[in-house]
Symmetry: C2
């Protein structure tokens, strides 16, 4: 057993929070892991804020090339620690080393950091806009204060507070970060922070560019996100925790980007079922059970048209759901899944398979399938959209197209919405009536594909309307789009030429950067 | 006297709110104007929401070209009513017909609508992004519900709830609007809405594309901005009203864009004063007294270095402030200016000129100049940044550069920050130490110019960090940038080609539209 330090103001140090501590738990054995982590008192959190604000000022004098270098050295330093990170990640989360942690999530994480480095170096992300006639130039710049990142439990590397998408985007946009570790994997987060801090030192970055705390009490958390020195917050996690932070940040006028909950509706239209029922049942179960159902994009709600064929579809899914369940990330996963299933049943859903905790060493909950009629869904639409963060799926049987439209109109905001339709166009009539309604309720609309699998692409939207996120205009995944969250719009009005940032001077600073000059996107100079 | 109708669901009708009414007041005479306006009850507001949601669905099938045509016909219809609009605008606001209302603000308003039309037609604003390798395409699309617009009292045309920047941006982005008139100029708003509704009918738009109510009680206002059917809200007005709406919208997860308050700091550095003290005093007074000081960008706080020269500057300004005051927009202007001056004095500011209401027919408050030391400013920085919406300005005397930096560090978020410096570079040392701090506190940084005068340019930022606005990433002025507030990010993942919106299909729909295809901005097709 060893007492783990926090990283504040460029030094690993024993936390002042020695009276309150916590340990991580191995979800496969339900046994605590040996290391002990502090709950940081407010004074320590405030020290991180002050150091972060100083780092934000210092960052102004550091060129994009140097910041890009930092992100690359950070990625290299993660790879150099692969074995340690993967091993501890496995112990803290129970996620499979292969094919998940080593060959998929870790490379995704370093790839994301390198994409962020490339965007930092290339600079087009900042949307430099030049109006030569009026002497006005604008650019997206840093926020002027540190970005606080709360990472989720389900992606210990790729959405990690220090190495994940929010951190990469915030750093690439020119901000320092304060990482608040997910308490499910504090050791993994510490290893990743060691890699980050090594890169900070190797590339001469401001020492408080990256800081780490593991946990605070609730009051300190809300004070943190609403503090005058904070630039913004990125949060991925539960709706209840997210809403508490959102309220505090909103009241203080501090930007907060949240990714909270989503049931990711999937419409399987009649022609598609006629055509390929078994294949779609395979896809649905595979997507639903990925990561033991603990993906933000897990398909939790499937809408079909009531028919013999859709009854057969239910049976086909049910057979697949009989498979033995995987291990959940933690004990809280067991409670929340159980609660959610209870809520769904209380709201009129009928249990088809599962619906109970599985006893044994690991945290396991039986794969759970439920069904409900369209009428009943419309009677309690809110309760029947309760997210169950596990292998739980609800099938809604619509009476007709009009009811399917009405069901779609009652959707809350979601990350994704999917449509499976007949390959020959037999479902296009229904699609054209329902998909436009779903379009404005989701961030990403899919055809003939399940929503899990979120590519790091400029055209990705891992976002959507509330309560999936806090704002429908931004994505949490995708470089450079995700960077836009952690930037402020800076206009320069008749500012003398030599005082303009390089991105806005007449000469294109890289010869490659795209800029919007007098109504034209160009890689050229102002002429 | 005549009882004025509301415009709901495509019909001018007598409001259900006949028990509560209000009239506008002529600020030059303090006498009520003859027309009577209803306070709409909640039921009527909800009818507008439902009709607006239907219009949002109908808009999906209307091509950008038709929406652009609507905006142009709207601009034409305003021009056809110029005399009536200008005359009533003058009576309701007291703003000069010339050079303000007829030759400046009205053309600005129609120009803005035509710029919005051009952006709608041209389509580059929606940032169509295509990743051919991953089958992902994204675009900014409409919000799926009506945008509520609360316009301010100080620009009856160019920021009007129905014809101003927020309305133009929301409509151009493909959303219906519900205009909540500013109660200072309900008749002007009605005339502008008549122009809008004529254009709706002439161009075959959904009948509830534009709706108008004049006033609600507070509870209905907060219900309106937080209603499930609402797309977003644009608000320009006082900080207290804005914060109430913000809290309600934030809690419901509904986007709200606010432009609330700003003191627009101006730094006049020593070399500039040595060089051109009288000219800068002229500029400061001219900017400060424009629109009787009721501009969001009025320079309310000037920072100088304490010296004999800056004392002479104060005297030069004071002499100009002795001029007779203009007419304020309403009685509430008198109270709030008086309150603000009292707060500034209570926080240690010393009154140099003015500080009292001027008796007579119109609402007038003496031009008011105050001074305070840097020490005192730092002792009560919040109170000394109280916005006074009139010809009121506070001069802060900093002891040295370090104190000037500290003053800047204590600024709240502002729309603008200005620096006057020596033309030969004698102030550049101080500029380099202070301007970077100001940069992250303001939306628009100016050199050698006062902040009033907000060009409608793609490179404008009429925005800034809280409490100037609710989000540092967006501008309320400037096409197409202002449209981004009223859009949602829509990603399409492997969606069949014929189902993609025209902007994302392989063929460039206009041959002119800029799209970001596989990392390159191009006007070409996907090849």
């Amino acid at each position: 057993m060893s007492y783990q330090p926090v990283l504040i103001a460029g030094a690993w140090r024993t936390s002042a929070g020695t009276t309150k501590t916590f340990t991580a738990v191995n979800p496969m054995t339900r046994m605590p892991l040996p290391d002990v982590y502090p709950v940081s008192p407010w004074k320590e959190v405030e020290e991180a804020l002050v150091a972060g604000a100083t780092a934000a000022e210092a960052l102004r004098d550091i060129a994009p090339e140097a910041r890009a270098r930092f992100l690359e050295v950070f990625a290299d330093a993660i790879e150099a620690r692969t074995e340690a990170i993967v091993s501890l990640g496995y112990l803290e989360t129970g996620l499979a080393i292969e094919p998940r942690l080593r060959s998929s999530e870790l490379p995704r994480t370093t790839d994301q950091l390198r994409q962020a480095a490339a965007a930092t170096r290339e600079r087009s992300w900042c949307h430099a806009t030049i109006d030569t006639r009026r002497g006005l130039r604008s650019v997206l710049g840093p926020l002027g204060g540190p970005v606080v990142v709360f990472g989720p439990n389900n992606f210990p590397f790729a959405f990690n507070s220090v190495s994940g998408g929010d951190a990469a985007a915030a750093l690439a946009a020119g901000n320092p970060i304060i990482a608040k570790a997910n308490t499910g994997h504090p050791g993994t987060t510490k290893l990743l922070t060691e890699a980050a801090f090594e890169a900070v030192q190797a590339t001469g970055m401001p020492e408080a560019l990256v800081q780490l705390i593991y946990r605070t009490d609730h009051e300190s958390g809300t004070r943190l996100v609403s503090h005058p020195l904070v630039g913004a917050t990125g949060f991925t996690g539960s709706r209840s925790a997210g809403l508490q932070l959102k309220e505090a940040a909103d009241r203080a006028g501090k930007p907060i980007y949240l990714e909270m909950s989503s049931v990711n509706p999937v419409f399987v239209l009649p022609g598609a079922l006629e055509e390929r029922l078994e294949a779609i049942a395979d896809e649905l179960f595979a997507s639903c059970s990925l990561g033991t159902g603990q993906f933000c994009t897990k398909p939790g709600l499937t809408v079909v048209m009531a028919s013999e064929c859709s009854e057969a579809f239910l049976q086909a899914i049910a057979a697949r759901f009989e498979a033995p369940p995987g291990v959940l990330l933690g004990s809280s996963g067991l409670w929340t899944v159980g609660d959610a299933v209870q809520q769904l049943c209380a709201a009129g859903a009928e249990l088809i398979v599962g619906g109970r905790e599985v006893e044994g060493a690991g945290f396991r909950y039986a794969n759970t399938l439920l069904r409900v009629s369209g009428e009943q869904f419309l009677a309690q639409p809110e309760a029947l959209q309760t997210e169950a963060f596990g292998v739980v799926s609800l099938i809604v049987f619509a009476r007709d197209t009009a009811q399917m439209q009405e069901i779609a109109r009652h959707f809350e905001g979601n990350l994704t919405g999917s449509f499976y339709t007949h390959s020959g166009g037999a479902d296009d009539g229904i699609y054209d009536l329902v998909a436009p309604i779903v379009r404005t309720k989701v961030g990403r609309l899919l055809n003939d594909a399940m929503p899990t699998g979120v590519a790091v692409s400029p055209a990705m939207n891992h976002g959507g309307p509330f309560p999936a996120t806090g704002h429908p205009g931004f994505t949490a995944v995708g470089i450079p789009a995700a960077m836009l969250r952690f930037a402020a719009l800076h206009s320069y009005d008749r500012v003398r030429a030599h005082r303009l940032p390089a991105e806005l001077q007449d000469r294109n600073p890289t010869g490659q950067m795209w800029r919007f000059i007098d109504g034209t996107w160009t890689q050229g100079d102002v002429v």
